[in-house]
């Protein structure tokens, strides 16, 4: 979405504009408050024995309805979402609104699938989805594939959170000028990052859980104010959509085509629907959604949450409309649509409230970034380190490795953001969505049936990954030769659709056909360590202890 000259223009623009002192002060104030909370979180609901992965990586599996709500909300609706969704609306109109049906569809899916995962994970002490896949199919190879896909898909997601913070810092005027030394230029981001890394390291999942309260409080406040105050200032929704419709019908970047449309035209509807469905399926496969889910106290906490989480979707819908307001207000985006919302806020709000709004976005980046790095660290520790490198690792060693990996993952994301163009992070995030969707047959298939053969699932995964990556590589856009978008013609149907979903269908077909073949050939099936009752067990049932002893993290139960 941005190329080098544009980025340079952004930096130059922010340098000439100067620093917004009041906004910066408010921003720094909230940032410091959150930092203190992050470190204090280590003592919140602390267990007696805390040096294990259940405590650090899942918050002791103790979170009730409200904490889980803030955690999942803080996790799924990231700073990048707040910047990118209105930016997409600003750039192309209706197409960007797919985020709303997408988040509507996520909850029925979570309602149906994740309580089963919670039960079986609680019963067997699974910390990650790969733990479950290993236990269910008795295949370390399949488990490794799921783990690596998860880590690979999460890294660019963390990088994008840093991109979100950068957008805010740019508009605040402390993004640095084109001529400043790179170190000075990136110093604010480095500080934000160091703070995040430090408290995630010391407090684990408890830190983002606690900070999520502040983040969401601020976000709800800002959105409510924005959605009432800005339309009044701009002359009402009638005026906003009128001028947005006009602006979108102007010629866009693709010659001969308008910039966008106010409602999805017949040619865009397949893409709209498949993107919504594919993204919904992908979202709850992401390691960070699973980590937040598994940290809840009981099955019912998850189900109850699916009835209150849509409040965030409503907020997202309102937020998306801000994209149209930015069009109407004639916000100067300096060539970068990502700046539309931060800039709109700065133009519309008094300085002090701009600071509040920016703090909301900034903190909104820290929460998911922390959860994502914890989720990736859990995956690495359990499914690479323990399964392949050091099978006899003690819970204390797992804990230590996970903490270190959470640091490494974040440093990786930081290097990514600082050394490469933002478009690279966005491209990889797009690929990540396609990739993570390919783990679904193993996970969801496994939750409901043991019919699939492990080798068939592994092959299906490989085919889906390969097709998805190649197809995405082949998509060109006006500014990019490759990875220009996530939609492409669906083979056999001829409509434009989301690549991830096409790859997923291919994946399922391969898995089904090969399972038939492998069963006919009597290929050895792995050992399933779970039993049907494990999938419906709830805390408090007979044989299901509420508090898992730390040792379960080390020895898989059942065998």
């Amino acid at each position: 979405m941005t190329n080098a000259p544009e980025a340079a223009a952004v930096l130059a623009g922010s340098a000439t504009k100067g620093v917004n002192g009041v906004a910066l002060a408010v921003f720094v104030f909230f940032f410091l408050a959150v930092t203190v909370m992050g470190f204090l979180a280590a003592r919140w609901r602390k267990a007696d024995e805390s040096a294990n992965l259940d405590e650090w990586g899942l918050g002791g599996r103790s979170f009730g309805t409200w904490v889980t709500w803030f955690l999942l909300g803080g996790d799924l609706y990231t700073a990048y979402t707040f910047v990118a969704v209105p930016a997409a609306i600003y750039a192309a109109g209706a197409a960007g609104f797919f985020a709303v049906p997408y988040t509507i569809l996520v909850y029925p899916l979570i309602f149906t699938f994740l309580p089963r995962l919670w039960s079986v994970s609680h019963k067997h002490g699974y910390v990650t989805t790969s733990d479950f896949v290993r236990g269910r199919f008795g295949s370390k190879g399949l488990s490794l594939a799921v783990a690596l896909t998860g880590i690979l898909a999460t890294m660019p997601y963390i990088a994008l959170q840093l991109v979100g913070i950068q957008a805010v810092l740019d508009v605040l005027g402390i993004g640095g000028g084109a001529n400043t030394n790179w170190f000075v230029k990136d110093l604010p981001l480095l500080i934000a990052f160091a703070v995040l890394a430090a408290y995630t390291y010391s407090s684990g999942l408890r830190a983002p859980a606690l900070i999520a309260f502040v983040k969401d409080g601020l976000i709800y406040l800002v959105i409510t104010v924005a959605i009432i105050y800005i339309p009044i200032k701009l002359g009402g929704f009638d005026a906003i959509f009128h001028s947005a419709g006009k602006a979108l019908s102007q010629p866009g970047a693709v010659p001969g085509k308008p910039r966008g449309e106010l409602v999805s035209g017949p040619n865009a509807q397949w893409a709209y629907a498949t993107l919504a469905l594919g993204s919904a399926l992908a979202l709850f496969m992401y390691p960070h959604s699973i980590t937040a889910t598994l940290s809840s106290r009981s099955r019912n906490v998850i189900r109850r949450n699916t009835t209150i989480l849509p409040l965030y979707s409503l907020m997202l819908g309102l937020l998306a409309l801000l994209g149209f307001m930015a069009i109407k207000a004639g916000t100067d985006i300096q060539g970068n649509p990502q700046l539309a919302i931060p800039q709109l806020f700065e133009d519309m709000f008094p300085s002090w409230f701009t600071g509040v709004a920016f703090a909301a976005i900034g903190i909104g980046a820290l929460v998911p970034a922390a959860i994502m790095s914890i989720a990736a660290a859990n995956l690495f520790t359990r499914n690479v380190y323990k399964d392949f490198l050091k099978p006899d690792a003690t819970p204390a060693q797992e804990h230590k490795v996970a903490k270190l990996v959470s640091l490494l993952v974040k440093v990786g994301a930081l290097v990514f953001v600082l050394t490469m163009d933002k478009t690279v992070a966005i491209n990889f995030q797009l690929l990540g969505g396609i990739w993570i969707l390919q783990t679904m047959p193993s996970l969801v298939g496994g939750l409901f049936t043991r019919w699939f053969h492990r080798w068939a699932l592994l092959t299906g995964w490989a085919v889906g990954m390969l097709y998805g990556t190649l197809a995405a590589y082949g998509v060109a856009s006006p500014t990019q030769a490759h990875f220009g978008g996530s939609s492409k013609e669906i083979p056999g149907i001829g409509e434009i659709g989301y690549i991830g979903l096409t790859a997923f269908v291919l994946n399922v077909v391969v898995s089904v056909v090969l399972t038939f073949a492998l069963k006919a050939a009597k290929a050895p099936d792995g050992i399933d360590e779970t039993s049907p009752a494990d999938y419906t067990a709830d805390a408090g049932d007979r044989g299901v202890v509420v508090e898992l002893p730390p040792a379960t993290a080390g020895a898989p139960a059942g065998h």
């Binding site: 609104f97 049906p101 309602f111 999805s264 017949p266 849509p310």
Partner: protein, 86 residues
């Protein structure tokens, strides 16, 4: 969970309650993926095109539907547990 107390579940997997809960959970998919049913500007609501307010209205509708499904599933589970362990 109740393996020793009760014989393996002989009760049907598909019950009327579950069918209704299932319909509640599937309805949002039908409504949202059928894009041509709502891809228009009129009627507008306080100036917002139908396309946008309709989808946002579905956030609320799907919430209510999920709540109904939750209550139904919970009630059935309680009934099963009460019947199963005694």
């Amino acid at each position: 969970m109740t393996q020793s107390a009760a014989p393996p579940d002989r009760r049907p997997v598909i019950t009327p309650t579950r069918v209704i809960a299932g319909v509640c959970l599937i309805a949002p998919f039908v409504a949202m993926l059928w894009v041509s049913s709502y891809a228009r500007v009129e009627p507008t609501l306080i100036g917002i095109p139908f396309f946008y307010w309709y989808q946002m209205a579905w956030v609320l509708i799907s919430t209510v539907l999920t709540m109904v499904a939750y209550k139904l599933v919970q009630r059935e589970q309680r009934a099963r547990k009460g019947g199963g362990s005694q």
